[in-house]
């Protein structure tokens, strides 16, 4: 069969199943599977059950891997036999918290379509991308009675809080995970018309900083000027972590960071439209290490961000209080060779050492963390995705890096012994991790086509 015929057949199949598929997608989106907040435990587990049931119906053999946190759903389909390669696909069924809730136009767990976009928490990250993978498998099986290659699925429930559970067991599951190719379907494209594969993602370290002053909150008149306000200590400590050029001031922070090489510069597309970025996000690219270009800072340089600060009175009006305690959540994105725990300890030691007299600084570096991953554009899996994307988009497939992290990507690559591909159809303005996250219905179709077509292209003989 000709390429164009095979693509057309997939398109027809999608058109036939679209209505029912979207119903399933909305059901998936309705689960409040927020993994970082224990209040949602029941919802996260119910979501895992739904995904498991969906996969079982496809004829996959499913194993639920218990972890220290939420279960990982592992499934395999071996009917293509030993002459065909095995593709391991990674997704996750958990999502980020939804606050600030009042900024959502429609409730985050009531999927709503506006202008061809589905609005819901997880609509893109990663339920949208997970769903088009599952739909591609379902449709190929319905269309042909079987899959052309062997498929393994690894769908976890803690990606949004660091994948601690899966990380701990992944090495012991090397046999089960063993595969020729690994597709991590949680990445993106720079704009709606440009197919792209990603050659690297950053690692990550997260921590909490707590500054304790007095036993209890104090009246800011009766005590103001005498005690060291924990909020002052916190802002001074955090401000001191970066210099005026955006460079991290902690000794040793950059020790393991490679200089940006000519290879790095040549292997990917460096197109960046600053005016478009500013218009889309309403802010300038003035943060971070200003001596590097915006994409260098986001792709190939580590950085440190404050992700939350709490302390004192946050309600309407005013309260004359010196809080007993103030705290912050920090994270670093890391580049190859940087170890998250080593970086965490450097920052923790620095903050504790610089605590002003009168307050106690306690830093909790979250266990684990993830190292940066790199993948090659020359592998069979990268070649197959490149070809599939070019057939579907009708345009040359670009190569980029990504500033985000997939906690378990490196460990999964090692354990499976597979060639890694980092793919996906997220757009920079999908508002993932933010209010009004959304994903285009057109990308459900394109994602479905890209997975189905890549599977066809990986078939041997």
């Amino acid at each position: 069969m000709k390429t164009s015929q095979e693509i057309q057949q997939l398109k027809n199949s999608f058109a036939n199943c679209r209505e029912e598929a979207l119903k399933d997608f909305y059901t998936f989106l309705k689960f409040q599977s927020i993994s970082t907040d224990p209040a949602y435990k029941k919802d996260v587990l119910a979501c895992a059950d739904w995904v498991t049931s969906y996969i079982k119906k496809l004829g996959f053999h499913v194993e639920i891997w218990p972890t220290t946190g939420y279960p990982t759903i592992f499934a395999h389909y071996d009917k293509a036999g030993p002459s065909q390669p095995t593709l391991l696909i990674y997704n996750h069924y958990d999502v980020q918290p939804v606050d600030p809730l009042d900024l959502w136009t429609t409730p985050p767990f009531e999927p709503t379509v506006r202008n061809g976009q589905v609005y819901a928490r997880g609509a893109q990250d990663n339920k949208g991308q997970c769903f088009y993978v599952l739909l591609a498998l379902k449709t190929l099986i319905e269309q042909n009675g079987s899959l052309p290659i062997n498929i393994k699925l690894c769908i976890e429930g803690e990606e949004e809080c660091g994948s601690a559970g899966l990380s701990k067991i992944v090495e012991t599951k090397a046999k089960e995970l063993s595969a020729d190719y690994l597709a991590v379907v949680d990445l993106g494209i720079p704009d709606i018309d440009t197919p792209t594969i990603t050659l690297g993602i950053r690692g990550m370290m997260t921590m909490e900083v707590e500054v304790q002053g007095s036993h209890s909150d104090l009246h800011s008149g009766s005590h103001g000027g005498m005690v060291f306000n924990p909020l002052h200590a916190l802002v001074e400590l955090l401000a001191g972590l970066r210099d005026k050029s955006g460079k991290i001031t902690i000794p040793g922070f950059y020790d393991d960071v490679d200089a940006i090489s000519d290879k790095d510069k040549k292997s990917v597309s460096w197109d960046f439209d600053e005016a478009k970025y500013e218009k889309t996000f309403g802010t300038k690219v003035t943060g971070g290490e200003i001596n590097y270009s915006p994409l260098e800072r986001n792709w190939l340089r580590p950085n440190l961000e404050i992700n939350g600060i709490t302390g004192g009175y946050a309600g309407p009006g005013f309260k004359s209080v010196i809080p007993a305690k103030a705290s912050a959540k920090l994270s670093c994105r890391l580049v190859p060779h940087q170890n998250p725990q080593k970086i965490g300890k450097l920052i923790a030691d620095h903050l504790e050492k610089h605590a002003p007299k009168g307050v106690k600084v306690t830093v909790h570096v979250h266990p684990g963390g993830d190292v940066a991953a790199r993948s090659s554009a020359d592998t069979a899996i990268a070649t197959a995705f490149t070809k599939a994307y070019e057939e579907i988009f009708g345009k040359t497939c670009q190569k980029i890096y990504c500033g985000a992290s997939i906690p378990v990507a490196v460990k999964l690559t090692k354990a499976s012994g597979a060639e890694l591909a980092l793919v996906g159809l997220g757009l920079p303005d999908d508002d993932i991790h933010a209010p009004n996250e959304h994903f285009g219905l057109d990308r459900i179709e394109k994602g479905f086509l890209s997975i189905a077509r890549t599977i066809q292209l990986l078939r041997q003989g």
Copy 2:
């Protein structure tokens, strides 16, 4: 009658009415009269009604003065006639917010007695001190059929959020407020055995600072290192407001501040037990301008405190977010000659001028604010309070300053044309403005005695 007999009679009257009086006190404490948060409007108004009703029963003529915010209760008792002086007493019926609620041992609006202390929001500030004033008036009337001097009451409902409403009308009410003496009963004593009158309080300016970055929250991986995180901008701006010695760095901030004079040093008691302070509050006196002594910093120097910061994710676990917005609540305590609006504008201009590129800083200086007040130890009212306290405590009455503020004190003094006395029986560790605020039942009695006895001592002829 001898002094000792008069005091004993008051003590007997207190013993007789104690049980019923405490019931009334607990009713007063149960009103959630949080003036700064509009959600409590109904409760604040209900509290005002209860106070009004209590005063009316004493035979006072009561006027409710509407303001732009909550009403001020004004009441007068003129039966002592023109040969007797008039004492104006100021209190407030509103209270501070209660968060962090989880740190309260018992609910803030369910008064509970433990070890002789009543625990409730407002138990001291200012419902406790307001209540013993009312109880003294009630008991004197019951005991003697009338009051020995003329009394006016000014009990407002917005002290905890800056007294904006009363401040605006106080000059127009000069005739009604006209008095010989003004007692502001909202102050404290350094320890339970030491009677004290206060010769000065600081002024206050409050403001909110908002830093806006992108249109919406951003994923900290996809955007980290590129944009200027509003939380980074906020901590850098706030950290920059003070130098290493605790001095405020804003040009002009100290322009109107007088040097601490010999008179200041001689007129009050400078006893300060640093070890005891550290033990009581669990923190050292290492904050503020370290080149001044702790009491100088709190009493006679202006300061700037951060009273709250909000931005990003504050829930359990972690969220990989660069927030669109971060904000802070700030306040300054001011000394004589410093103008709150002038100081507010200096800080606002400084913050807006130093905003890093890529974020927008907006500062809202709350209207009004209050100037510092001073009172003399040589007036008839100070003399009467000093004698009453010495009779009741059996110890020499000390003079101190106070670092806190009574927003309307200066305006009220001017409008009434009265001699000002700043008095009260608050203790530094009553946890006002904090969880587990409390007030001793022994101080309800001592407060009652001090007011009743001062009124007796002010009687002419």
